[in-house]
C-alpha cells in the first residue's frame, strides 16, 4: 500500500488536476460516489484548481521591458546600405509569399476564429429566444450543426433570452443568449464546420473534453469542440467557474457516464 493510499487527500489532489494515474482513478471514483465528504472535498479541490489555473495576470510592460533587456541578445549590427538594397526586396517577396500560404491554409482572411465566435456571443440578440423543446425539457427548439442548445434553466438558473444567426467566411454561427436572475448575460455560439483556430489559453479537461479558457478585457470565454464543431460560451463579469459549469453540463450527461462505466469495467 502506498503512502497516498493511506492519505486519500493526496489522490483527491491529483484527481482534481488530472494527474492521478488511470489505474487508481476507478477505485477512487467509486469511493467518492459512496462518500459525501469525499465528494465535497473533491469539489473544493476542483474549484481551487479552476480558480488558480485561470489566473491571467500578465507581467506589466515595464517589467517585461526590463527583463527583455536582461535576456535579449545584443542588438545586431546594421548591414551596409549596399547590402540592404539587395536584401530588402527579396525579403519582402518571401514575406508576401508566406502570407498568401498562411491565408490559404487558414481558410482565408474571413474565416471565423474562436475570438470571432466570442464577439458574436457577446453581441446583441436579433431574434427572440427559442422555445423549450416540448419533447425534451433539457433542450431548446434550436440546434446548430445538429447540436441542441440547452435550457439550463431549472438547474443552473440561466434562461434563454434571445438568439442570432450570422454567416462568417461562409460558415454559419448560431448563438443563443441566456440571462441569470441577477441580470448577467452570456452567449453560447456554435459554428458549423470543422474546429476553429484561435483557441489559446489555459486548458482544463472535464469528462474527457478539453475546454480552453481565454479572456478579452472583462469578457471571459470558454471554447471546446463537440461533435467536430467549435462551441463558445462567453460573458462579461461571469466567473470562469460559472462558465465552465455551464460548458461542462452538456458534456457531463454523455461523457461522465461513459467514462465512469469504462473505468469501472477496466478496474473490475
Amino acid at each position: 500500500m502506498t503512502e497516498e493510499r493511506k492519505h486519500p487527500e493526496g489522490e483527491l489532489t491529483r484527481l482534481a488536476d488530472g494527474t492521478l494515474p488511470a489505474d487508481r482513478r476507478a477505485d477512487l471514483l467509486a469511493q467518492i460516489q459512496e462518500s459525501a465528504d469525499l465528494t465535497a472535498a473533491l469539489a473544493e479541490q476542483e474549484r481551487a484548481v479552476t480558480m488558480l489555473r485561470a489566473l491571467d495576470e500578465p507581467a506589466p510592460a515595464a517589467l517585461r521591458a526590463r527583463v527583455n533587456e536582461l535576456t535579449g541578445p545584443p542588438a545586431p549590427r546594421r548591414a551596409p546600405r549596399w547590402r540592404r538594397a539587395f536584401v530588402l526586396p527579396g525579403a519582402t517577396a518571401i514575406a508576401a509569399a508566406i502570407a498568401v500560404v498562411v491565408i490559404l491554409v487558414s481558410g482565408g482572411a474571413g474565416a471565423p476564429t474562436v475570438p470571432t465566435a466570442a464577439r458574436l456571443a457577446l453581441a446583441s440578440a436579433t431574434l427572440p429566444a427559442p422555445a423549450v423543446d416540448a419533447n425534451d425539457s433539457d433542450n431548446l427548439m434550436l440546434t446548430a450543426a445538429g447540436i441542441p442548445f440547452p435550457t439550463w434553466g431549472a438547474q443552473k438558473g440561466w434562461t434563454a433570452s434571445g438568439a442570432r444567426t450570422d454567416t462568417v467566411g461562409g460558415r454559419k454561427v448560431t448563438t443563443v443568449f441566456y440571462t441569470s436572475p441577477s441580470g448577467k448575460r452570456i452567449g453560447y455560439a456554435i459554428t458549423d464546420g470543422g474546429p476553429l483556430s484561435g483557441a489559446r489559453g489555459s486548458n482544463v479537461t472535464r469528462y474527457g473534453v478539453r475546454f480552453t479558457l481565454q479572456h478579452s478585457g472583462p469578457a471571459r470565454l470558454i471554447s471546446w469542440v463537440r461533435s467536430g464543431h467549435t462551441c463558445v460560451i462567453a460573458g462579461r463579469s461571469v466567473s470562469y467557474a460559472s462558465l465552465l459549469r455551464l460548458a461542462t453540463e452538456d458534456e457531463r450527461q454523455e461523457g461522465a457516464t461513459a467514462q465512469v462505466a469504462a473505468e469501472r469495467a477496466e478496474y473490475l
Binding site: 497516498e4 487527500e9 493526496g10 483527491l12 489532489t13 491529483r14 482534481a16 488536476d17 471514483l29 465528494t39 472535498a41 469539489a43 473544493e44 479541490q45 476542483e46 474549484r47 481551487a48 484548481v49 480558480m51 488558480l52 489555473r53 489566473l55 491571467d56 495576470e57 500578465p58 507581467a59 506589466p60 515595464a62 517589467l63 517585461r64 526590463r66 527583463v67 536582461l70 535576456t71 541578445p73 474562436v114 475570438p115 466570442a118 438547474q155 443552473k156 438558473g157 441569470s180 489559453g201 489555459s202 486548458n203 479537461t205 472535464r206 469528462y207 479558457l213 481565454q214 478579452s216 478585457g217 472583462p218 466567473s239 460559472s242 459549469r245 455551464l246 457531463r252 461522465a256 465512469v260
Partner: protein
C-alpha cells in the same frame, strides 16, 4: 545537463510574475522580485538539469528568502503615505478583473509558507509534482499533501457565485498547457 539559454527565459515571465505576486502578496514587490531573480540567474552562464521553469522556481524562492533576510536587517519604520497601495494604474485593465486576480494572489500569499510554495509551484507556475518536489527539496507525497491543504483553504476562502450547483464528483481537471491565458486581442 545543458546550458541555460537566456533568450528562452522570457516565455516564463508571466507565470513567474504571478508566482512572485503569490509569494510576496504585493504587485510592486513581485515586480522587484522577478527582476532581481532574472538578474541573478543571468549574472553568469548556468548549466541546468531538467525543466527551465523548475530552475526558475528555485531561483525565485532563493531570491525571495534572500530579500526577506535583507529586509529583516533593515531598521523598521512606520507606514507612510507611500506605503498605501494605489489602484491598478493600467487603464486597459478592468477594475473588477484586477481585483479578482489580486485578491486570489494575496490570499495565496497569506497561506502558511509550505502550503504557499507547493501551490505556487504546481497551480500557478505549472510545475509537475516531481518538478515541484525537486524545486522545493521535499518529497512528492509531502508536496501533494501541502497542495491539498492549500487548495482547500483557498477554495473555502472564496465563496462561489450563488445559483449554479457544484460539479459532480466524477469530473476531473487536467491542465494541458501551463502557459498563461491569452487575450483575444
Amino acid at each position: 545537463m545543458r546550458r541555460l539559454d537566456p533568450t528562452s527565459l522570457g516565455q516564463h515571465l508571466d507565470a513567474l510574475y504571478r508566482a512572485a505576486w503569490a509569494l510576496c502578496g504585493s504587485r510592486e514587490d513581485a515586480e522587484d522580485l522577478v527582476q532581481e531573480t532574472f538578474a541573478r540567474v543571468l549574472a553568469r552562464p548556468r548549466v541546468i538539469r531538467g525543466d527551465e521553469r523548475g530552475y526558475l522556481m528555485r531561483a525565485l524562492r532563493n531570491t525571495f528568502y534572500s530579500r526577506l533576510r535583507t529586509a529583516s536587517r533593515r531598521p523598521q519604520t512606520g507606514a507612510t503615505l507611500d506605503d498605501v497601495q494605489p489602484a491598478d494604474p493600467r487603464s486597459t485593465r478592468q477594475p473588477e478583473q484586477a481585483m479578482e486576480v489580486g485578491e486570489i494572489l494575496e490570499a495565496v500569499a497569506q497561506l502558511p509558507e509550505d502550503f504557499r510554495l507547493a501551490l505556487v509551484a504546481i497551480d500557478i507556475l505549472g510545475l509537475s509534482y516531481s518538478e515541484a518536489a525537486k524545486a522545493l527539496d521535499a518529497r512528492e507525497a509531502t508536496i501533494t499533501t501541502r497542495l491539498y491543504r492549500a487548495r482547500q483553504r483557498i477554495a473555502r476562502q472564496f465563496a462561489d457565485e450563488p445559483g449554479p450547483s457544484s460539479p459532480t464528483a466524477s469530473g476531473s481537471d487536467t491542465r494541458e498547457g501551463s502557459g498563461p491565458e491569452r487575450s483575444l486581442a
